[in-house]
């Protein structure tokens, strides 16, 4: 639907360098990356608020690089809501319709249904200053949806909300995506939001797009070590391929060998990524990588617990708290750890 073709752009201290990406119709596209990576600038470039110095932006195959924002069919929601304090909720929400030439009363009628849907009906005549943060953010979202955008752009919409409001908001967003079929682009630095909502994602580090693709692929099989670190893969091991037979490679990762599925040839330096939920403690059921080890730490986090096991290299597994109790895991416990060869993602340093 919208595509960036080698876009470069400088804005103050932020730079986008040679960014190429494609956002498809109906995608819930996440742009993630560390602070200062240029995520917001990228979002604003989609909206047409910044003119690229190099490269092209295409909408449904047509070049729109210099098309002004009001003709792009987008709507933007910032983290700080950016509501108009001197307008009522209803006037805020109908603003986008009024700048398109609709009469004030007609616009208010038009958005009445939307206000109800987002639970704002009873707040229509209130001013934003009298609303809670969650209500204000909902007004901002409704205002954006009211203009029926082709693409909804969200800049960290959840980061200023409390956890309970966040959950409700995530449900709202999911419905907008699934039921209304809206294409949504969201800037975020929350792994949880990404896992819950994203269908596709891009990782932006220092102005460069270092990974892009289906969200589950980027999250579990990243292209580079820095992406793996950023998306929070728990076990990242550097090693060298010692043998490769029909795509099954043996990798020496400093004291422990792993079998993995890769084309990397013997002698090649690689990085292994293993999600903690792919590390099985107990009976591995014939997994290729089965090793003995000693539990060094158990870190509880709500209903789950991270278990660190020293088996020549340190591996982190994630288990339910209940399983930890059933297996009586504690520092010093001797365990067997199993990882399927297919669960080991190999990053080739040449690629």
């Amino acid at each position: 639907m919208i595509a960036f073709d080698r876009v470069s752009l400088t804005l103050g201290s932020f730079r986008l360098k040679d960014v190429s990406m494609t956002i498809g119709q109906g995608d819930y596209y996440f742009i993630v990356g560390p602070s200062g990576a240029g995520k917001t600038v990228l979002l604003e470039a989609i909206a047409g608020l910044h003119l690229p110095e190099h490269g092209r932006i295409l909408l449904r195959g047509e070049e729109i690089t210099a098309l002004p924002p009001e003709r792009r069919g987008v709507a933007l929601v910032y983290q700080d809501y950016s509501l108009f304090p001197h307008m009522t909720v209803a006037d805020n929400v109908s603003y986008g319709l009024r700048v398109r030439g609709m009469e004030r009363d007609a616009a208010r009628c038009e958005v009445a249904g939307l206000l109800e849907r987002f639970g704002l009906g009873h707040l229509a005549d209130r001013y934003p200053g009298t609303l809670s943060g969650g209500e204000q953010q909902r007004v901002a979202l409704t205002r954006a949806v009211a203009v029926k955008p082709d693409i909804l752009l969200l800049d960290e919409p959840l980061s200023a909300l409390d956890p309970i409001t966040q959950e409700r908001f995530i449900d709202d967003l999911r419905r907008l995506h699934r039921e209304d079929g809206l294409t949504i682009v969201q800037v975020s630095h929350s792994r949880r939001e990404t896992r819950l909502l994203a269908t596709r994602m891009a990782v932006l580090i220092d102005g460069r797009l270092v990974d892009e693709g289906r969200a589950d692929v980027v999250l579990n099989a990243p292209k580079s070590r820095e992406v793996a670190t950023f998306v929070g893969i728990e076990n990242i091991l550097d090693g060298t391929v010692t043998a490769n037979e029909d795509g099954y490679a043996v990798v020496d990762a400093g004291g422990r060998t792993f079998e993995a599925v890769t084309d990397a040839a013997a002698g090649e330096a690689v990085t292994l990524c293993i999600r903690a939920d792919d590390v099985v403690i107990g009976n591995g059921g014939g997994a290729r990588n089965t090793m003995a080890g000693t539990v060094v730490a158990v870190v509880e986090d709500g209903p789950v617990a991270g278990v660190k096991v020293d088996c020549g290299v340190e591996l982190t597994a994630v288990l339910t708290r209940r399983s930890v109790q059933d297996l009586s895991l504690a520092p010093g416990t001797r365990v067997t750890v199993a990882v399927r060869a297919a669960a080991v993602h190999v990053i080739r340093s040449l690629s």
């Binding site: 604003e44 909206a47 047409g48 608020l49 002004p68 924002p69 009001e70 987008v74 709507a75 933007l76 929601v77 910032y78 700080d80 950016s82 108009f84 304090p85 001197h86 603003y95 986008g96 700048v99 398109r100 205002r143 954006a144 203009v147 752009l153």
Partner: protein
């Protein structure tokens, strides 16, 4: 004035002058308000659009221009008076307008005096609307002109505060109206110049009466200002 307390006596007489609506007091007050309100109106007409232009357009030297405007907030009124006198006098380029020693000339002088203040305060008022909000407005489909008008509407109370401050500076200044207006009785005498003259003539009761009125105007402006800023 010799026996005891001329101030108290003057004060009592001043109240009397105000309560009985002394014709001279009324006339001077009305002229003062007329001159300064008209000057504020014309200055707003020029300064608000120019201020908006400075805020919305990026150009080289923008920062220096805003700094210069802020420096001109403290422009000495006698300097404005002197420059306007030279411009409006018979030998000056605008002598043909015959505005020297007329209320029109005083309006022109006060307009020039407060334009930098109004421009600078307009820029500040608009800068109070953050970047994200500007972008949100644009991304919601507002054209450039609609973005500008929405930002100005959002900043209207801050802009209004600036206008009130400009009026306050105009009505309380004495240097420019004294030089350009000449303080002619019944023609160009306003509150500030009348106070200066009456005080030097030891006519304290008149000075105090006019002073009370001037202070009331300033107080009124402040009350309106705080009401506006509470919004």
């Amino acid at each position: 004035m010799v026996n005891g307390s001329p101030v108290v006596e003057g004060f009592i007489e001043a109240i009397n002058l105000i309560v009985t609506l002394n014709p001279q007091v009324v006339e001077i007050t009305i002229r003062s308000l007329y001159v300064s309100l008209t000057a504020t109106f014309f200055a707003s007409l020029v300064a608000l659009p120019l201020g908006a232009l400075i805020y919305f357009y990026e150009f080289r030297g923008k920062h220096a221009l805003v700094s210069t405007l802020q420096t001109l907030y403290a422009l000495p009124t006698v300097i404005v008076g002197l420059i306007m006198f030279l411009l409006l006098s018979n030998i000056g380029p605008f002598g043909f307008l015959r505005l020297l020693y007329t209320p029109g000339g005083m309006i022109a002088a006060q307009t020039v005096l407060i334009i930098p203040l109004l421009m600078g305060l307009t820029v500040s008022a608009l800068s109070g609307i953050d970047r994200d909000k500007r972008y949100t407005i644009t991304a919601l489909g507002a054209s450039r002109l609609q973005t500008v008008t929405t930002v100005i509407a959002e900043a209207r109370f801050a802009v209004m505060s600036g206008v009130l401050l400009g009026f306050g500076r105009a009505i309380s200044e004495v240097g420019a109206v004294m030089i350009v207006g000449g303080n002619i009785r019944g023609a160009t005498r306003v509150l500030t110049t009348a106070i200066a003259l009456n005080t030097s003539m030891a006519n304290y009761s008149m000075s105090i009466a006019l002073g009370i009125i001037l202070l009331s105007v300033a107080l009124g402006v402040n009350v309106v200002l705080s009401l506006v800023q509470r919004r």
